[in-house]
């Protein structure tokens, strides 16, 4: 009995922790998409312009439908930006004349490779160019983490429901056998069973949400970033999804188990 209780408590705890981690991952992923990737909706290319190449570049950009927007940074702007970026070098940069700093532009384009090909055809305008890539590896890592936690959450949910069903089967097998013999439909036996399972998973989901909320609070205070809160609808959605999955998995498990119950 104690062993069974520990096993069930362990499974439920695992479910709560995994669900909490899943919610946390979803939240981080959501924020990552919102804050980092919104800057990379279009390909960003930094272009270093040759001396007196600015008017020609402006004309090129103005006549190219691939260009979404651009911003020119003149020599003085770049000198100031460099000073801001490396304050410790300010004393060194300050006395230098502006002409030692190139004019540049940040261009947002829809099709990066096409724009780079175009620049290669204008070597008299452009010194060099750099394509800015979003941190795809990090994004992919978060996505994979979310996927893994989703699978583990689903697996734990299935195991919790399976062990509960096995416990119920030991108690109810004789009754199920009789009811089956009398022509009772499995769904009618399943419904009362589902209430108990749903209650258990519902309570566990609430605990998972609490854990996620605490974790979110900790992360927000630890990393000063522009975090956005998880919408209330997401909590409700997670809770509803937990109950829906409980119903679906429970019914499949129960139906398979009920089929194996003999009449005599």
């Amino acid at each position: 009995m104690i062993r069974f209780f520990l096993k069930e408590a362990g499974m439920l705890t695992a479910f709560v922790i995994l669900a909490g981690l899943l919610l946390l991952c979803l939240w981080v992923s959501e924020n990552f998409q919102r804050n980092v990737f919104k800057d990379f909706q279009n390909t960003q290319i930094s272009v270093v312009i040759k001396d007196r190449g600015e008017p020609a570049l402006k004309e090129l950009l103005a006549n190219n439908s691939n260009v979404v927007q651009y911003k020119i940074y003149r020599s003085k702007d770049n000198k100031d930006r460099l000073g801001q970026l490396y304050p410790e070098l300010k004393n060194l940069i300050g006395p230098l004349e502006d002409k030692f700093f190139p004019t540049s532009a940040i261009v947002a384009v829809k099709d990066g490779p096409a724009f780079l090909s175009l620049l290669k055809l204008s070597p008299q305008i452009v010194e060099t160019q750099i394509v800015h890539q979003p941190p795809m590896e990090l994004a992919r890592f978060i996505q994979i983490l979310t996927f893994i936690f989703s699978l583990l959450w689903l697996l734990t949910l299935t195991l919790v429901l399976y062990f509960n069903l096995e416990r119920l089967t030991a108690k109810e097998q004789a009754r199920w056998s009789l009811m089956k013999m009398l022509g009772e439909r499995p769904e009618r036996l399943f419904l009362p069973l589902l209430y108990g399972q749903s209650l258990r998973i519902g309570v566990a989901s609430v605990f998972a949400i609490l854990i996620a909320l605490i974790s979110v609070f900790r992360v927000r205070t630890m990393f000063a970033w522009n975090w956005s809160a998880i919408p209330f609808g997401s909590w409700v959605g997670f809770f509803a999804l937990s109950l829906l999955m409980t119903a679906v998995i429970s019914f499949v498990l129960f139906y398979q188990r009920f089929k194996r119950v003999t009449l005599g």
Binding site: A174, R175, S177, L178, M179, K180, M181, L182, G183, E184, R185, R188, T262, L263, G264
Partner: protein, 246 residues
């Protein structure tokens, strides 16, 4: 035709129970299968119930290969097993009325039918007793009542009178006979052949890994007794759940 066994073979491990069995059970028949202990009567009965499946050949029910009886068919089949299936923590009346509760029959109507069966089988005083408090014979009668309360069109019984004295056994067989007369198909598997004879009874014997029809020795004087004392009026039982196919 209700059941047809097509070259059925059944083995348990290395022990062969049946080999190349051909058997047909028609609608509206009263059949008794006898045989020594261990000959395979219960296995045969379980194959009719869809609990056991043959290793060779096929069992057909209503023209289709039998895998498992559907809930609809099970509502029209009265199954009586050797071992009791009732729920020990429920009263006798509740156990007997269980099939009607499954059918969502109103409580008053259900109580009426249960009371009638308690009277027929002499269990009125035990109506509120828990099932586990009953004697073996009383349990057997309650199992009987639960199986027949819906007035099923097919009755399959395995040793239905095993725990009863001859008077009580005759009472239950009389009840089965009344159901047969009312159109039901009755199939009984028993270790002890009933004392009565009747030309309409189909007798089978299980031995040597097969089942054989044996000629009925007709004793009309005894046959006249059977069914001569109806223990209840079958018309009283509502003709519910009857299914044309059965």
């Amino acid at each position: 035709m209700l059941f047809e066994f097509k070259n059925v073979g059944k083995t348990y491990g290395i022990q062969k129970i049946f080999h190349d069995v051909k058997f047909k059970l028609d609608r509206g028949t009263f059949s008794i299968v006898t045989g020594p202990s261990g000959a395979g009567k219960t296995t045969f009965f379980k194959m009719l119930c869809g609990i056991e499946r043959p290793n060779e050949g096929e069992v057909h029910f209503l023209g289709k290969k039998l895998i498992e009886h559907s809930p609809t068919h099970l509502k029209n089949i009265g199954l009586i097993f050797q071992s009791p299936k009732g729920l020990p923590d429920m009263s006798v009346a509740e156990n007997i009325g269980l099939p009607l509760a499954i059918d969502r029959m109103s409580k008053s109507e259900r109580d009426g039918k249960v009371a009638r069966w308690l009277d027929i089988l002499g269990l009125r005083s035990k109506a509120n007793a828990l099932y586990r408090e009953l004697s073996g014979g009383e349990i057997q009668k309650a199992e009987f009542a639960r199986a027949l309360i819906r007035k099923p069109r097919l009755i399959l019984a395995d040793e239905p009178t095993a725990h009863l004295d001859s008077v009580q056994a005759d009472l239950l067989l009389d009840v089965l006979w009344e159901h047969y007369k009312d159109g039901a198909t009755v199939f009984i598997s028993t270790h002890h052949p009933p004392r009565f004879e009747h030309p309409e009874i189909h007798r089978y014997h299980v031995s040597n890994m097969t089942i054989r029809r044996i000629g009925a020795s007709v004793d009309l004087s005894q046959a006249a007794n059977l069914g001569g004392l109806p223990l209840f009026d079958p018309a009283q039982l509502q003709d519910q759940n009857s299914e044309e196919t059965l």
